[in-house]
């Protein structure tokens, strides 16, 4: 036993005193770590961007969609206060490309543009008593003012704004305490970590400011790591969390788009009381709105049946060969 070896050392020797002091400090540190909960949070909010506090929200107007529509995909900007954002611009760009690729080829969708991270900035709150913001300050008003400019620059009709909220939770357990004091912090995994990621996409018609549909995706990544590895593991989990949540988001976006198309065929965005929606074809005439994009996809049942037929054919061939 390691503690037994410690008891055998002579307390009067300088080495023993030093060892005792080191151990005491380690125990104190471990005890502190044991009670420590570390949290990293990364978030952006489309709601905060589009409807900031202090700015009156304008009601949405009726929607006119000219098919095929042009869609822009962007991340809602991050408030600078969230300085522990592990979600880098290059990661965001990759995930935006994934979402854009999922949209491309969809029914009624003409082009999908990725709006690079950093193009959108949070509008500043209006100064008390009115007046223009200081030079170089973020734009005043709601996010739609900026989206109008992005619409003109990128030639888009709709914008899909993606928000995210990732919480990384780290707490040390008993095993971590033991190895911190005796063996070392990096030998055995003892720290439990959990990363929870929620991604949400809202699709707006920019001219009318109407929310057409939204979808969300989430993921939970949990694993153990040595305390010394915590930062590296948390970074990995952060990436993994965003990847998995994006996959979930893309699947749910497809479902939401299909539901919106069915709903829009009835004439309103989300039922009675919501803005009316009209869909026009490239010729400017109203579309029928009841057609679907079809797929002749071989599924698991056909694959299993084909495997069965292959087996039967080979068996038949073998029987025929035996009879000859």
């Amino acid at each position: 036993m390691r503690s037994h070896r410690f008891e055998r050392s002579r307390p009067s020797s300088p080495a023993s005193v030093a060892a005792t002091a080191v151990l005491a400090v380690a125990v104190v540190l471990a005890a502190t770590a044991c009670g420590t909960t570390r949290q990293f949070q990364a978030r952006s909010s489309a709601l905060e961007y589009l409807y900031p506090r202090g700015v009156d929200a304008r009601p949405p107007a009726d929607v006119t969609l000219r098919l095929p529509v042009r869609v822009g995909v962007a991340f809602a900007p991050v408030r600078p206060a969230y300085y522990q954002d592990r979600f880098t611009a290059s990661q965001k760009q990759v995930l935006l490309e994934r979402v854009a690729a999922a949209f491309r080829g969809g029914q009624g969708i003409g082009s999908v543009e990725v709006i690079p991270p950093g193009y959108l900035t949070l509008p500043s709150a209006p100064p008390p008593g009115g007046g223009a913001p200081a030079g170089g300050a973020p734009p005043e008003g709601d996010g739609f003012v900026e989206l109008d400019r992005v619409k003109a620059a990128f030639g888009i009709d709709l914008v899909a704004l993606i928000s995210y909220d990732q919480m990384q939770f780290s707490e040390t357990g008993r095993s971590s305490w033991a190895y911190w004091t005796i063996v070392g912090a990096y030998v055995i995994k003892g720290e439990k970590n959990e990363t929870r990621t929620l991604m949400d996409a809202v699709v707006y018609d920019v001219p009318s400011r109407a929310l057409l549909f939204h979808a969300s995706g989430n993921s939970t990544v949990a694993a153990a790591a040595t305390p010394i590895d915590v930062d590296r593991v948390l970074r990995q989990h952060s990436e993994e969390g965003f990847e998995t949540a994006t996959t979930d988001l893309i699947a749910n976006l497809g479902t939401a788009l299909g539901q919106f198309q069915q709903q829009a065929a009835t004439g309103t965005v989300r039922g009675p009381g919501t803005p009316a929606v009209a869909m026009l074809g490239p010729d400017g005439l109203p579309t029928q709105g009841d057609g679907t994009d079809g797929s002749g996809a071989v599924g698991a049942v056909e694959l299993a049946g084909a495997a069965l037929l292959l087996y039967l054919a080979l068996r038949e061939r073998r029987v025929a060969a035996q009879r000859r």
């Binding site: 057609g291 079809g294 996809a297 049942v301 037929l309 038949e316």
Partner: protein
């Protein structure tokens, strides 16, 4: 089963695979309701060569390759007629049956036609009750699956589709029906030469 090279199947799969590797050109081959109405009569047939995703292309073409090779080695005539009848029926159903389809892509019509024709051919020429039962089970499974999809409007085990794209059960049903008709024509025609186990006298 003879050793003949399944040229029809190989040409179809190769053409669709090359098309899948070249991103451009899919829009010119897919079924597009408006374009067909404007005179692009080939689109219901060439839509079998284009797919919505790489995963879909692999699943569709892999199935066509296996089933087509098996059937064509037994009877090229039956394979050709099954494909032709399946395509003709599915094209008509795609364009004229409700609800309207705006666009369509996928090789599952051809796969369904070959599937049913092969099952019938195996069942007809089988020397054992197990093979006949297995062939019957395969057809029943396909019918049950497409029937469920047609009744509920939900795709069964079809994998993810791009946004707004739905699996079309009628393509499978009509493809399978065409495959059965094509196979019947193939085996009942006076000029049909015995070429596989189903035509051999035991």
């Amino acid at each position: 089963m003879t050793r003949r090279v399944p040229w029809v199947t190989l040409v179809f799969v190769a053409a669709a695979a090359v098309r899948a590797l070249v991103p451009a050109g899919a829009a010119a081959l897919e079924y597009d309701r408006a374009a067909v109405a404007a005179g692009d009569f080939w689109r219901p047939f060439t839509s079998q060569l284009v797919h919505w995703s790489g995963r879909m292309a692999v699943a569709d073409l892999g199935t066509v390759l296996v089933l087509g090779t098996l059937l064509e080695r037994r009877s090229r005539r039956a394979a050709l007629l099954a494909i032709a009848c399946g395509l003709a029926l599915a094209a008509a159903g795609l364009h004229w049956l409700p609800p309207p389809v705006t666009r369509y892509r996928g090789s599952s019509t051809v796969a369904s036609a070959l599937y049913v024709a092969l099952a019938l051919d195996l069942g007809r020429g089988a020397r054992s009750a197990a093979v006949r039962g297995g062939a019957l089970l395969a057809v029943a499974g396909l019918l049950a699956k497409t029937g469920f999809e047609a009744a509920t409007g939900r795709a069964l085990f079809a994998g993810p589709m791009p946004p707004g794209v739905e699996v079309l059960p009628r393509a499978h049903l009509l493809g399978g029906l065409g495959g059965a008709i094509g196979w019947l024509l193939g085996v009942s025609a006076p000029c049909a030469a015995p070429s596989g186990p189903s035509w051999r006298s035991s």
